[in-house]
Amino acid sequence: MKLSPTKVYKGLNLTAFSLVMIFLYIPILILIVFSFNDSRIISGWQGFTFKYYIQLFHNPAIGEAFRNTMLIAGLSTVISTTLGIMAALGLENKQFKARKGLLALIYTPLVIPDILMGVSLALLFNFTRINTGMVTVLIAHVTFCISYTVIVIQSRLEGFDYSLVEAAADLGAKPHYIFWRIKFPLMLPGIIAAALLAFTLSIDDFIITFFTSGRGFDTLPIYVEGTIRRGTITTINALSTLMIGFTLFLVVITKRIRKILISAL
């Protein structure tokens, strides 16, 4: 049998894909397996245990970090998505005089390393003598989420079918009726995508929170980093496994919501 070059390339691509998959998943799988390992040090399997998960739930610091993370993520999602919806609607008008300026404000943060937003906000709070804590973290999170929410919602509005709005207006529908009954439902998938993105960005963020949180207000990434540095890592395996589970849950939920929305519209 003669192997055609095309087949060889296909084989190479499949090999590359498989290797990358192994590369992407091996560390995560090891982490999950070792979260059930009954040993203080990481090398070697010492038997199955749930004890780190139990320790996890009895650790008040982790509970508080978890609540802080969810609070910040929830609030920054709501605020940044609301601001994003409004800005995206404002940007719809191509003749809008401040359109270019606003777009520049929205796109620039995306091409600047995160650490610089952290430093500049830390300096702002230092300069204005605002005490760092929950409020400053929330401000920071909304600031880095806005760009993403505006862009996601705006891209949805770009492909918008205005003939529907015009038809409704011709038939005598009032503007607020048109907005809530036609436009908003059509924007909804974009809004949900934007909110989910803001939520994940917020719970994932380390560096900007690190610069704006100060002492006494830990989110989960901040807590985990501190624990790794101090070297007490046994419960972190278990915590990480739960967080990976949460990620999977989010992925499934997103798919579900999208499906429901598509069938509903």
Binding site: T6, F17, F34, L83, P109, V119, L123, E225, S240
Partner: protein
């Protein structure tokens, strides 16, 4: 000519645009623009022993060029370049394979790429620490295979930093590449090969030029965060050679804080990013002009 009614309507539309975008505009002005102005201001101030003194000086900038601060910049720049190149070499065949898969498989493959991408950054870094550490899994396996007689130091090296950077940022390269390759018309490739071009030739003449937008987007998405990386060098790198993200963070976090220095270093990093963006944009423009002619 616009009728007065149309003018009025135009005005009303503009007003509502203002009202709708004003909150975001104010927010970003206050919390994005103003902080950078303060950074610029502080970069020209003097550092006392304990705190900043409100006196003009170029000290911070002078120190960047004389006190060994160029080394961290260089190290970060090298890291960013390595990460981009390796991600591109690994990511391209992966994206290509995904783009040519059938629709059902495509979705599954996409999810397989997205799951690690959505997993918390710090957890992904942490998992590599377990894998690479002195008493970790990799050393254990290598010893059992008899390849090494005692554990080797893999964690806390610059190699580990590159490895984990590639691991974290690979999806940022694969996803944009995939989205351009998916739109690629593969019949073009078949046509080229029917006309006698071989695989390598058709790759360079057709696939690569058409994928160039994805390559630019992916490279930027990897390059920018790599340049400012703090967490990965901090958790898996050695602490003898510092990256610029670490240096800036120490200036802000370690007491006594040195705001002028942190500000000057931040602006220098920003300047580097801007130069890179301009270069990439120029290459991109050049490429577009060449393609249209």
């Amino acid at each position: 000519m616009l009728s007065s009614r149309e003018v009025l309507q135009e005005k009303k539309k503009n007003l509502s645009s203002w009202l709708l975008s004003l909150p975001s505009m104010i927010w970003l002005a206050f919390f994005f623009l103003v902080p950078y102005l303060i950074v610029v201001f502080y970069s020209f101030l003097t550092q006392d022993i304990y705190d900043v003194k409100f006196e003009f000086s170029l000290d911070a900038y002078r120190q960047i060029f004389t006190n060994g601060y160029l080394q961290p910049f260089f190290l970060s720049f090298k890291l960013a370049i390595y990460t981009v190149v390796i991600c591109l070499l690994l990511g391209f065949p992966v994206a290509y394979y995904m783009a040519r898969a059938n629709d059902k498989l495509k979705n599954t493959l996409l999810i397989l790429i997205i799951i690690p991408f959505w997993t918390n950054l710090i957890i992904r870094i942490f998992s590599w620490r377990i894998f690479l550490s002195y008493s970790g899994v990799l050393n254990g396996v290598l010893m059992k295979l008899g390849l090494i007689s005692q554990p080797i130091e893999i964690l806390r090296t610059n190699l580990a930093v590159i490895l984990v950077m590639v691991y974290v940022y690979l999806p940022y390269m694969i996803l944009p590449l995939y989205s351009v390759l998916e739109k690629l018309d593969f019949t073009l490739l078949n046509a080229a090969m029917d006309l006698g071009a071989n695989e390598i030739k058709s790759f360079f003449l057709i696939t690569l030029p058409l994928a160039i937008e994805g390559i630019f987007a992916g490279s930027l998405l990897v390059f920018i965060p790599a340049l400012g990386a703090y967490l990965i060098p901090q958790l898996v790198g050695n602490q003898q050679s510092l990256y610029i993200g670490q240096v800036i963070t120490y200036k802000v976090k370690n007491i006594p804080r040195n705001w002028p220095m942190a500000s000057a270093l931040s602006l220098t990093l920003l300047f580097m990013v801007a130069i890179m963006l301009l270069i990439i944009y120029a290459i991109y423009r050049h490429h577009l002009a060449k393609r249209s002619s």
